[in-house]
Amino acid sequence: MFRGWPSRPLRTARGPLIPRRAVHIFANPARFLSIARPLTPWLGWPGLLLIATGLVSGLFLTPPDYLQGESVRIMYAHVPAAWLGMAGWSGIAVASLMQLIWRHPLAAVAARAIAVPGALFAAICLLTGSIWGRPTWGTWWEWDGRLTSMLVLFFLYIAYIALSSAGAERGSNDRVSAIFGVVGAANIPIIHYSVEWWRTLHQGQSIGLAGSKIDGSILWPLPLTTLGFTLLFAAIVLMRMRAMLAEAKVEARLKRMASE
């Protein structure tokens, strides 16, 4: 499981492109576990608290939108789910790239751990968006650029889960799913810019680095739920990584005991 540690960092004519120690310091499973074990509850509990506060505030403390009415409250669940669906795949792409370049087995574990919660939040985004669309647009579904590219992301997650599970069962250094993880990231900018490239049904970008088009009285619970779901997502990923590492340890130990 932990074979294939990097032998050489990427190099330029002047020396290593990135200092080896900086890149590989967290790639050691024992060091990772010493950090992940105490970190998991510190991410999970505040995440749950922020989600509960944000969702309850969004239900009862904010006013309805002048145009959309009460249905705007779906935003507090829909937007964090969309963010995590996209951020999850970005995480898979970065981890896959690390797996391909430095052959870190922990990077492969991280990518596999992200896939299921990422797929779940992509599905939640699609479902809550569809439910939001019915009273707002008068339809459950439209083959709009944003909706379609998000559906493609969900299918990419399903394909990645199937590929990486097959690779894990074979016990091989799964380069195919890593390449798929990197190539699939091409869909992320398509999702992001879809509302600008194909102006069909989905509204344009409401929140950006420059500010928000949403009134503050409606907006304020959104950062709470977004941060809360993000922290909980990180805790779930850590739990799944810890489970995979423990399962690998058990499997290795049982194989060794059988051969003795």
């Binding site: 989600i51 009460e70 249905s71 779906i74 439910i131 019915r134 805790a235 779930i236 489970a243 340890k249």
Partner: protein, 43 residues
């Protein structure tokens, strides 16, 4: 059109889905780490 059934459905899907993956991940982690610890103690 009454929007509240739509809001409740969206919240229910989000909460149930999140708690389901959280619970499944937690149970899998606890089970795997207990098995690993038990094997370590046997050695």
């Amino acid at each position: 059109m009454n929007h509240w059934p739509f809001i409740i459905a969206a919240y229910a899907i989000t909460i149930v889905g999140t708690l389901a993956v959280l619970g499944a991940s937690f149970v899998r982690m606890r089970r795997a780490e207990r098995r690993a610890d038990a094997l370590t103690r046997r050695d």
